[in-house]
């Protein structure tokens, strides 16, 4: 069974509401993340809750990508 990462994304530096979604790959600091057509840079990622089965629960902080 492959891991599934459920990620809580919060955006700092603007009023974006953030997002929750599943991904097959663990996001890493420095990744470029696209939400609603906007591009962001991942600046921090932490475990939000302990993993259960193949599900991992993460919290990621994003900043708007430079234009």
């Amino acid at each position: 069974m492959s891991a599934i990462y459920k990620v809580s994304y919060v955006v700092i530096g603007e009023s974006h509401p953030g997002a929750i979604l599943n991904t097959d790959h663990k996001p890493n600091v420095g990744d470029h993340i696209t939400l609603g057509g906007r591009e962001f840079i991942l600046v921090e990622i932490v475990d939000l809750m302990p993993a259960r089965g193949e599900f991992h629960f993460l919290h990621a902080t994003l900043r708007p990508a430079p234009a």
Binding site: V10, G18, I20, N22, R52
Partner: protein, 148 residues
């Protein structure tokens, strides 16, 4: 469409056997939405649970009748569910949910079908209700971290 590979990647159904997943698949109905289409409306009665198989939705809340301007509180993507509050508490929809992507695919589960399944199979009912509580907990933690 074979729903089992999709449902097996949804946290709500994590821990179900293949046979139980097949039972869930039998009560799912698929709908497709385009950008801007409303899926649920705040204040309306609701009797369905929604699982996002693909695409994105935005969740909007109007704080009060005196301040009806809706505010987007979160975007939800693949694997997430919504509509679970009205499913379990029988209250009106707490938010308006709109598709923000073309070809957003939603699996809907009727409350009566869902309850019948949970009552007929208590293992399935326990697992799904536990996972639903964990999902609500995750959303609450996300909400706290947004600092709103």
């Amino acid at each position: 469409m074979d729903l089992l590979p999709i449902l097996s990647k949804v946290e709500l159904f994590d821990g179900l056997t293949d046979s139980e997943l097949a039972d869930v698949a039998r009560i799912c109905k698929q709908r497709e939405y385009r950008t801007g289409q409303t899926i649920t409306s705040q204040g309306e009665p609701g009797g369905e649970l929604f699982v996002i198989a693909d695409g994105f939705v935005e969740v909007l809340v109007s704080p009060s009748s005196q301040n009806p301007a809706p505010r987007t509180v979160v975007h939800l993507g693949r694997g997430q569910l919504f509509g679970e509050m009205a499913l379990v508490d029988y209250g009106p929809r707490s938010a308006t949910v709109k598709s923000i992507a073309d070809h957003t695919l939603i699996q809907t589960i009727d409350r009566d079908d869902f309850n019948r399944l949970c009552e007929a199979n208590h293992h399935l009912g326990f697992i799904v209700m536990r996972n639903m509580a964990a999902d609500l907990s995750f959303k609450l933690r996300h909400y706290h971290l947004t600092g709103r």
